[in-house]
Every structure is written in structure tokens, then in C-alpha cells.
């Protein structure tokens, strides 16, 4: 078993502001890795860099052995992703969304149709696959996005707060399937979440990031032991403090926006 994700000394600066500050970690193949941190800690920024849509300021990344800044196609073929916010086309049906994804990822037609049918059934949307996505509830959209991320049989699955706004039934259902996928097909899973009980239950390893730096990295059990806490949530708070980050996150967002404005719209 090799290392599926290798991150060394990764840095992302927005102007003066350092969103990700020299972080390093590795995720072995077939493992479920939880990336935890308060709002504005740098989780989504890290995922963006791992998934080729944002260039790092410094450091190196290997995804399935490839560099996201240079070998984008190989990297993109290796992973499926469920983003923090929705990324479906509301004006298309579930089936059309899936089909579009399959074509973009070069899944041959016959296999595509077979897998689409199997996957929409799996997430319980088989009956409604011909409905426009704009008629779906938040939970249904989420399930569809999970199904879509799996369509091209990725080696790595990135999940950025995949269960936000979902009821316990759906959360359990989705995690159950993802655990099974990891166990049976050796898919590597990298996820972020604010639900510590969820991370405790499913993750083999977790890293806690705060202010752009990794402050702890181990299995959930070791983390609880080390901080002498009964739950991962208490351990998390022991590591990251009680201060509520909403204000700070907003300020961060503002700074990012300003940064974008200054550098001509966030490109580069």
C-alpha cells in the first residue's frame, strides 16, 4: 500500500494573509482521513490546492503520485469530490447531471448508463432521476453529488463537509457506504467536517488545523488520550480553544476578497 496523498510544507498566501502555513501530512491508500478545524482555519483552501483549482504559494503535493500543478489531468482523473457548496446544474435532471459528469470523465457510454442507474439507486434517487435537480431538497442534492463523485471510480474521494445540513438517517447512510467503499475497494477518503462524533466514528486518522497550521495529527483515539478528553469534540476544543471564529472568519473572507480585488480578480 502506497501513499495516496503526500503534502509537504504546503503554503498559501493571499497577499499578507497566510491561509495555509507550512503544513505536511500523508494519507496512505485505502485510509479515511479527517481534516478538522474551526471556520476559516484553511481546510477548504487546502482541498482546493489538492484538487488542482488553486495554485499553492509554496511546498509540494503528490496525489496518486502526480503533481496537481503540473500533471493536472492525471490528478483530476484520480479523485472524485463533493464540494462544500452545491455544484449541480439545477436546470438539468439528476440523470443528465450524472451523464454530463460521465462524459467529462470519459466513461464509455454503456458502462456510464449502467453505473448511473446503479449509483442513483444506491443513494435512493432511482425513482426521481428524471426530475430536474431544482426540485430536489438539500439532502437529495447532497446524495446525488456523492453518487456523481463516484461515477468514474476514483481512487481518492474528497469530501468537504459532505454531511452538512443532512438528517442523521442520510448521514449514516452516506458514511456507511463510504466506509464500505474504503474497505472493499480501497478508495482513499479525505474529508472535512464540523461533526466531531462523525470524525471519531469513521476516520482512521485525523489532522487538526488551526490558523493555517496543523496542531495535531494522529488517530482519534490517540488524540483523546493525549488531551485526556472523553470525546473528540472536547479534544478538538482543548486543541483549538474556546474562541468563536465567526468574526475572524468573516475578517478573513474580507481580506481574501480584498486580496482578490488587488490582484485583478483572484487569478494567478
Amino acid at each position: 500500500m502506497g501513499e495516496m496523498i503526500v503534502v509537504q510544507d504546503l503554503v498559501k498566501n493571499y497577499g499578507e494573509f497566510c491561509a495555509v502555513n507550512h503544513i505536511s501530512f500523508t494519507v496512505p491508500e485505502g485510509k479515511i482521513f479527517g481534516f478538522l478545524g474551526p471556520n476559516g482555519a484553511g481546510k477548504t483552501t487546502t482541498i482546493k490546492m489538492l484538487t488542482t483549482v488553486l495554485d499553492p504559494t509554496g511546498g509540494s503535493i503528490r496525489i496518486n503520485g502526480h503533481d496537481p500543478t503540473r500533471e493536472q489531468k492525471q490528478v483530476r482523473r484520480s479523485f472524485g469530490i463533493v464540494f462544500q457548496d452545491p455544484s449541480l446544474d439545477d436546470e438539468l435532471t439528476a440523470q443528465e447531471n450524472m451523464d454530463l459528469h460521465g462524459v467529462l470523465y470519459g466513461v464509455p457510454r454503456v458502462e456510464r448508463h449502467k453505473r448511473i442507474d446503479a449509483l442513483v439507486d444506491l443513494v435512493g434517487l432511482g425513482e426521481r432521476k428524471k426530475d430536474l435537480v431544482k426540485q430536489y431538497s438539500g439532502g437529495m442534492k447532497r446524495r446525488l453529488e456523492v453518487a456523481r463523485a463516484l461515477l468514474h471510480k476514483p481512487r481518492i474521494l474528497f469530501l468537504d463537509e459532505p454531511t452538512i445540513g443532512l438528517d442523521p438517517q442520510t448521514r449514516n447512510h452516506i458514511w456507511g457506504y463510504i466506509q464500505q467503499l474504503s474497505k472493499e475497494e480501497g478508495v482513499t477518503v479525505f474529508f472535512t467536517t464540523h461533526y466531531m462524533d462523525e470524525a471519531d466514528r469513521v476516520a482512521n486518522d485525523v489532522a487538526v488545523i488551526d490558523h493555517g497550521k496543523i496542531v495535531a495529527q494522529s488517530s482519534p483515539g490517540e488524540l483523546k488520550e493525549r488531551t485526556k478528553c472523553a470525546t473528540l469534540e472536547d479534544a478538538f476544543i482543548a486543541l483549538t480553544g474556546h474562541a468563536i471564529r465567526e468574526e475572524e472568519a468573516n475578517a478573513t473572507d474580507r481580506m481574501r476578497m480584498m486580496g482578490r480585488a488587488w490582484r485583478g480578480g483572484g487569478r494567478r
Binding site: K48, T51, T52, V53, L54, D55, Q72, K73, Q74, R76, R77, F79, I81, F83, D85, P86, S87, L88, D89, D90, E91, L92, E96, D99, L100, H101, V103, L104, Y105, G106, L132, M257, R260, G264, G265, G266, R267, R268
Partner: protein, 248 residues
């Protein structure tokens, strides 16, 4: 190639599925056609210009294409806000294919809208001299659509939100429309305005389309075709460049 095709199909599906948008974007061209077409008809005829509807219609068709094509490019901002853009940007497909699919889809939608306006113009009294030249008219309509889908793509790629949209419409697209010879000819205009018309890419598209319908070209068929083709190729390139630099 398949990526270009499927992204094109996506845009056509979205177009066909939103009758509100189809009808909504017909409002402006119909308003211009009726208000100007019938308002200035007798004045134009008295001045010896002939049928104003025949003169105006290619301009109004170009207008419909112009607005829809620019809008299709600006839809990138929507896709960014509603998230679909990310889905295409992490796919193992080159940005060039994605942006070409988008521009081609946008251009086809704009052209479809142009053809609807053409039909309305015919109902209002627009007469095409020889139906044999209709393919040439279609070529010009398609080139105008592609050209402005390229311009829209530049803005859609650079802008982060819709706040700059009125700026683009009022200070770029409206002037491009008004000073393109769509509603009046360049003859007898002050020198500065004539130069403005000469520098406006849409002028050549409007003239080409008008010439195709009436066999009278102001700049000549070859000039129109060459200028519009080169500019279209250029803007597709620029649009692709800006799109490929998008980061999330």
C-alpha cells in the same frame, strides 16, 4: 471533443427549458423594432432611404444576438456562484475544451434567439431580396454570436460577481450596439463618429448581415467577412486565455 459537445448540449437544454428567458429577451428587440421601425419609417423614406424596416431588421437581429451572446459568457459568474463551474474545472478535460464548449453553446443559443427575431422582423414587414443568400446571413449571425460570446467569456472569467454587469451593459454593449450602424448608416455622420463605427467590430457583422439580405454592402462582403472572422478567432483566443486562468 465529447466534452465540447456535452457542454454545448447543456446550454441548449437550458435555453429550451426556460421559455421565460426566451420571451424575456425578445422584449428589447421587439421594442426597438416597433418604436424605431415604425417611428422613423416615413422620415427614412422621405429622405430617400427606402424601406426602413429592411434597413433596420438586420440591426435588430444583430442586437438580439449581441445581448444573448454576451450574456452567455457572463453566465460563467452564475455558474461560479451556483457552483457548477467547479464541477467542470476539476474534470480531467482541458480548460480550452470547456471554454470552447461554453462559447459554442452560448453562440448557438444566441443564434437561435436571432432566428426567432428574424422571423418577427419578417412578420413586421422585413423582406429578404434573394432567399439564396440566406446561408450567408446565417454565417454572419453565427460569427457575430461567437465573437460576442468570446467577449462575454472574458468578462465572465474576470468578474467575481454581478455588480459589474450594469457597467458592461451600459458602457460597452449599449454603445457597441448604437454605434454599429444597426439603426442608422455611417453616411453623413461627423468624422469622429464615423471612425467609431469603423472601429466597432459589430459594424462589420451588421453590414455583412444587411448585405447578405439586401446585396448592398457598405464595407464590402470580403472586408466584412475577413474582419469578423479574424476578430472572432482573436476573441475566442482571449476568452479561452482568461477562462483558463480562473482559480477558485
Amino acid at each position: 471533443m465529447k466534452a465540447i459537445y456535452i457542454l454545448c448540449v447543456r446550454q441548449l437544454k437550458r435555453y429550451v427549458r426556460s421559455p421565460a428567458r426566451i420571451i424575456g429577451s425578445l422584449g428589447q428587440p421587439i421594442l426597438f423594432l416597433v418604436a424605431l421601425g415604425f417611428g422613423f419609417r416615413s422620415m427614412f423614406a422621405k429622405a430617400g432611404g427606402g424601406s426602413y424596416i429592411n434597413f433596420l431588421s438586420p440591426g435588430i437581429i444583430s442586437m438580439a444576438i449581441l445581448f444573448n451572446a454576451v450574456f452567455s459568457g457572463i453566465e460563467i459568474i452564475w455558474d461560479r456562484q451556483f457552483g457548477f463551474l467547479k464541477e467542470t474545472l476539476v474534470a480531467p478535460v482541458s480548460r480550452i475544451e470547456i471554454v470552447f464548449g461554453r462559447m459554442l453553446g452560448g453562440a448557438l443559443v444566441a443564434m437561435a434567439q436571432g432566428i426567432v427575431v428574424l422571423v418577427i422582423c419578417v412578420i413586421a414587414g422585413f423582406r429578404i431580396e434573394k432567399t439564396a443568400v440566406l446561408p450567408l446571413a446565417i454565417v454572419f449571425m453565427f460569427l457575430i454570436a461567437l465573437l460576442f460570446a468570446g467577449i462575454g467569456t472574458v468578462f465572465g472569467s474576470v468578474l467575481q460577481d454581478m455588480q459589474g454587469f450594469p457597467l458592461i451593459i451600459n458602457f460597452l454593449i449599449m454603445p457597441i450596439f448604437f454605434f454599429s450602424g444597426a439603426i442608422f448608416s455611417a453616411d453623413g455622420l461627423p468624422k469622429a463618429l464615423q471612425l467609431g463605427l469603423r472601429l466597432n467590430p459589430l459594424s462589420y457583422g451588421v453590414d455583412g448581415l444587411r448585405g447578405a439580405c439586401s446585396s448592398v454592402f457598405a464595407y464590402g462582403l470580403a472586408t466584412d467577412l475577413i474582419v469578423v472572422t479574424i476578430l472572432t478567432a482573436f476573441l475566442l483566443g482571449i476568452g479561452s486565455y482568461f477562462f483558463s486562468r480562473i482559480q477558485l
